[in-house]
């Protein structure tokens, strides 16, 4: 017999197997020790056909006499019609060596797991018939607001807008002071107390937007590569101060790029306090 590799077999297979067992039981009681597979299958098939035939004709006899539920007489008629004699049935029932097969265990129906269920389903109203499907989860049809009612008072809105504007400005200036170049308010090297955003105008101002450049991770390294690539020992000196970029990317063909940066800073340092006052 082909072994079923699945754990759960279909209902028809299980019943067929039980019929197989029943036939084997009968054969054992008769005196056989083994049976051919084909003959076992033949007898099982006969048994199944027997049940079907008896059920069919008993149902027919029952309906013939105008009833719906079959009765002993219908079954007897069906059996006799098939040619099965009922004479020795009692003796057969009382035979000594009979085995009883265990009825098949009821497999529990796999419960579909309640997925994504939020809350319990509401009871249907009494005017709804009971055979209709249950109500869906309450979140599917109950409306709850997602946010509070916003304040529409003029004063509150003006105040909110003003505080937001101030917060944005403050945060942005702090960010620029920490990330970009800064001027020092006092004449010290320490830049932490009052950093001012460096104001380095370039001419033209739209030039860095027009020239696309890669992101620079390390300015010193970039300058080194740039210098190595563009050595200008024999270049005319008028090209040195041409490019002054506040980002410091295109430092020009200078041998002392750091000094030039400091020069630029010093020249603009005088004017920066007045400018930064307005922006600080």
């Amino acid at each position: 017999m082909a072994e079923s590799t699945e754990k759960v077999e279909s209902g028809s297979d299980a019943r067929r197997r039980i019929l197989n067992i029943a036939v084997s039981t009968v054969l054992l009681e008769t005196g056989f020790d083994a049976a051919d597979k084909m003959s076992l299958e033949t007898l099982t098939e006969m048994l199944q056909c027997f049940f079907t035939e008896v059920g069919n004709s008993a149902k027919g006899y029952c309906e013939l006499s105008g009833r719906v539920e079959p009765v002993l007489g219908d079954v007897v008629m069906a059996l006799i019609n098939m040619g099965i004699s009922l004479q020795g049935l009692e003796q057969y029932a009382a035979r000594p060596n009979r085995h009883v097969i265990q009825p098949p265990l009821q497999a529990s129906a796999p419960r579909t797991p309640a997925m994504l269920s939020a809350g319990s389903k509401a009871k249907p109203a009494p005017h709804i018939p009971f055979h209709l499907p249950p109500l869906p989860d309450p979140h599917a049809y109950i409306r709850t607001p997602t946010h509070k009612q916003p304040v529409t008072e003029y004063e509150a809105i003006r105040e909110k807008a003003a505080s937001q504007k101030r917060d944005i400005e403050r945060a942005l200036t702090k960010f620029l002071a920490k990330t970009s170049e800064t001027h020092n308010l006092f004449n010290t090297e320490d830049n932490q107390v009052f950093p001012l955003i460096a104001c380095k105008p370039t001419f033209p101002a739209y030039l860095p937007c027009l020239l696309p450049t890669d992101q620079v991770f390390d300015f010193d390294e970039l300058e080194y590569h740039f210098q190595v690539a563009n050595r200008t020992e024999d270049m005319p000196p008028d090209k040195k101060g041409d490019q002054s970029d506040n980002e410091g990317e295109n430092m020009g063909d200078n041998e002392n790029p750091n000094s030039s940066q400091l020069d630029v800073q010093d020249t603009t340092m005088a004017s920066s306090p007045e400018r930064s006052k307005a922006g600080g």
């Binding site: 056989f32 059920g55 002993l72 009825p103």
Partner: protein
């Protein structure tokens, strides 16, 4: 539960009616005996096959009766097949000179050769297929 004993033939002669009525009574008595009897085939399996052909009964005794009848049917066929098998093996043993297999150690294996003639007596023709489709 009221058991109806339907007379098997109302148009027959009085003697026949009595016989049939007697048989009907016997069967209804037997039905009472079936209350505690459990045949080899489980009730649920038999009920399923009967339901599949339209026969639904709330009375488990009817189902047990049918199960018992089917069992008896099968055992009759099996008995006939056993007879055929014994005839064949006894003829084989008398043909062979070895006497190792005594009558006690005989193992009967049912094959289609025994089953086919047994079924033929019942009018069922079981033919072996030439090939598997």
């Amino acid at each position: 539960m009221i058991i109806e004993t339907v007379p098997l033939s109302r148009m027959g002669s009085p003697s026949v009616i009595e016989d049939d009525a007697g048989a009907g009574h016997a069967l209804s008595d037997f039905l009472l005996q079936l209350e505690n009897y459990s045949p080899s085939i489980p009730d649920s399996v038999v009920a399923h096959y009967l339901n599949a052909s339209g026969f639904e009964s709330q009375d488990p005794r009817l189902i047990r009766l049918i199960a018992l009848a089917s069992q008896k049917f099968l055992s009759d066929i099996a008995n006939d097949a056993l007879q055929h098998c014994k005839m064949r093996t006894s003829s084989q043993i008398t043909q062979s000179s070895k006497n190792q297999k005594g009558p006690k150690e005989k193992k009967y294996v049912m094959s289609m050769d025994d089953l086919a003639p047994a079924l033929q007596e019942y009018g069922i023709v079981a033919r072996k297929p030439h090939y598997f489709v």
